[in-house]
């Protein structure tokens, strides 16, 4: 059989570039898995090899779980990210609904402020927020980890863009049926916006699960630590850094995200395309 379509050069080039990009992105992860599987002696050996000669993943994991209360840290991560996400949705949905569907004086100005808010990096407000938390005595608590993130301007923007695409007639029909304005947000807009909420959820959860900066500055107590701090724990503890257990711990804290993403992948992509943010 003759090949009727010879693979064009450009297609090859495209794929080579994409594969190179993917390899670059994946390299740290592969290195992490590789290191997590090596015994201490191999990690520090001068020769470079990916596949460990002696497979030590189980030992490293055991050590990681023994040295730090990893499960507690994972639980903290879940408590914090879920609370943040739920509160963000509770704030962003009504706000986005008002910005998209209600007519009131100053709506455009408010929306411009929301857009402006997206431009402000969280580090810029870190010190005032830190001082505020200190004044009300909330430092070193779950509240300190959650409260500063409950209002997500990005979430408001994303949901507002999505709500713009919901037909006005649907809102009017709900009003005719006797649903209150808040009722419309939860019973009509939220179900219609599930893909967008999922997409936003992934952004939010990933960002706060992986956040290292904020927990580091507001936390003291060990029992409140979130997963990224848990990994850091291996660096500072005792004499020298034990890279094997550290990488094993890193694997453990990344796993929930990867699993969650695999489950929500389709919704996530749907959400991204639906909101027009490509």
């Amino acid at each position: 059989m003759s090949n009727a379509h010879p693979i064009p050069f450009r297609a090859i080039l495209r794929h080579v570039l994409l594969i190179a990009g993917a390899a670059l992105m994946l390299a740290p992860f592969i290195w992490m898995i590789s290191t997590a599987s090596k015994p201490q002696t191999e990690i520090f050996s001068s020769e470079l090899h990916l596949i460990p000669h002696q497979f030590a993943l189980m030992e490293n994991l055991r050590e990681a779980f023994a040295k730090a209360n990893l499960l507690r840290f994972l639980l903290n991560g879940i408590i914090v990210t879920v609370s943040i996400f739920v509160l963000q949705v509770m704030v962003a949905l009504p706000a986005a609904y008002a910005l998209a569907k209600l007519r009131f004086l100053g709506r455009e100005t408010l929306f411009a402020l929301v857009l402006f808010g997206i431009l402000i990096p969280p580090q810029a407000t870190a010190i005032p927020v830190f001082l505020l938390l200190h004044k009300i005595g909330l430092l070193d608590s779950y509240a300190a980890l959650v409260l500063p993130f409950t209002i997500s301007v990005f979430g408001i923007f994303l949901m507002r863009q999505f709500f713009k695409t919901v037909p006005d007639d649907l809102v009017d029909a709900a009003r005719m049926d006797g649903i209150s304005e808040f009722g419309i947000v939860w019973r009509v807009m939220l179900p219609a916006a599930i893909p967008a909420v999922t997409a936003f959820g992934i952004f939010s959860v990933v960002a706060h699960w992986n956040d290292y900066f904020w927990p580091l500055i507001v936390l003291n107590s060990e029992h409140l630590r979130t997963p990224p701090l848990a990994v850091a724990h291996f660096r500072n503890s005792e004499a020298g850094t034990s890279y094997g257990p550290l990488m094993a711990a890193a694997m453990v804290i990344i796993a929930p995200l990867v699993i969650a993403f695999l489950f929500a992948q389709r919704r996530f992509i749907e959400g991204i395309t639906l909101t027009g943010i490509k």
Binding site: P167, D169, L170, D172, A173, A174, R175, M176, D177, G178, I179, V188, P191, A192, I194
Partner: protein
């Protein structure tokens, strides 16, 4: 069932007047069609009646009770939207159930999980189910109740939307171009169904459309709106035969009514295309426009002649487009008998009976005409 009274309704958006003082009274049980060209404010008026849009001034009374400031749902009207506006995540059944649940269940009973545990909820849900099944039977959508709107055809969605409106037994139904998303055949079918529904429910229907065929076939009265004003209301026959304004005459009827430039003489006689009509009027001398429906143009005989410039044969009827000789005027004649069509580019004589003529002044207002009674007697005298 309700009578709806609109008095001096005004509405403007960002400084442009969309409704310029609408006074209108809709009687109990009437089927009123609001027609008019796109952008004339029909939907806005309907939304003001519904309470979805506040008017700038004027009052809406339903059954003699002022409803201004009363929430849409509390006015007890139902609305069917052009896009059907069904809740996409709910089944047809649940869509129809929404207004009932909102009205009959308390806020706690409506809670997703907790509500189901409350004692009263079960009995109320049974009632709701019975009501919905009754409606579904009437609308012939029983097999569709479990489907989501996305799995229904346009006509089926339409029925579900009507069901959602019917189930709450509203005082009046408001329709905003409910058939315009359907194909032509289904539209004719749904037209008959809606008219039948109106006869059965004997409720007040306010029906917005820009399709005059819908208005002509279904309504007990038609209200014609133009540029934010309600310019004429009357039975379909009145609107068609006795338009009070040239815009009404031109808007209603397809193909459009023929309009020819005319002149009123000092003695009250009327000249059109160089011929004197056998009519008189009391208006002052000057320019005027005369209008004649295409079906009232008689080909073959008459004082005028024109060239055939276009033929449209629809099978059951045909439209002959004529360019009137010696003037720039064009007109259309409807031929009921398609077997004897004039040839293209041929010249044909045409005329029209005196009682077919409707005359309008330059501002578009109707001018009353008198058909000369002495026609027969005077004719020989001319010879």
């Amino acid at each position: 069932m309700a009578q709806i009274e609109l008095s001096a309704i005004r509405k403007s958006f960002d400084g442009t007047d969309v409704l310029k003082g609408i006074d209108f009274r809709i009687a109990d049980g009437e089927f009123i069609s609001l027609v008019g060209p796109s952008g004339c404010g029909k939907s806005t008026l309907l939304r003001i009646i519904a309470g979805l849009e506040p008017q700038n001034s004027g009052e809406v009374h339903i059954d003699g009770r002022p409803v201004d400031g009363i929430r849409p749902s509390a006015r007890n009207l139902a609305m069917v939207f052009q896009s059907y506006a069904l809740y996409p995540h709910l089944s047809a059944f649940d869509n129809i159930a929404v207004p009932l649940r909102m009205r009959r269940l308390s806020a706690i009973e409506r809670l997703p999980l907790l509500g189901a545990l409350l004692p009263g909820r079960r009995a109320k849900e049974r009632h709701i189910r019975a009501d919905i099944e009754g409606i579904a039977e009437q609308l012939d959508i029983t097999p569709l109740l479990r489907r989501k709107p996305g799995q229904l055809s346009g006509g089926q969605r339409q029925r579900v939307a009507v069901g959602r409106a019917m189930v709450r037994e509203p005082l009046a139904f408001l329709f905003d171009e409910p058939l315009s998303n359907l194909d032509a055949k289904l539209r004719v079918h749904m037209r008959a169904e809606l008219a039948e529904l109106h006869r059965r429910l004997k409720a007040t229907f306010v029906y917005v459309t820009h399709d005059q065929a819908e208005a002509m076939t279904m309504s007990s009265r038609i209200a014609v709106m133009m540029g934010g004003e309600l310019i004429q209301a009357g039975t379909p026959a009145e609107i068609y035969n006795e338009p009070g304004d040239i815009r009404v005459a031109e808007f209603i009827g397809s193909p459009k009514i023929n309009v020819l430039p005319g002149r009123i003489r000092k003695d009250g006689g009327v000249d059109v295309l160089g011929t004197t009509l056998k009519l008189t009027c009391n208006a002052a001398a000057g320019d005027c426009r005369i209008a004649v429906r295409p079906e009232r143009i008689e080909l073959g005989t008459g004082p005028f002649s024109g060239t055939v410039v276009h033929l449209e044969n629809l099978g059951a009827e045909a439209f002959v487009h004529l360019a009137v000789e010696g003037t720039g005027s064009r007109l259309i004649a409807r031929l009921a008998d398609v077997r004897h069509l004039p040839a293209m580019a041929s010249s044909v004589a045409f005329g029209f009976a005196s009682d077919a003529v409707r005359m309008f002044d330059p501002a578009g207002k109707r001018i009353e005409l008198r058909v000369e009674q002495a026609e027969r007697v005077r004719e020989p005298a001319h010879v």
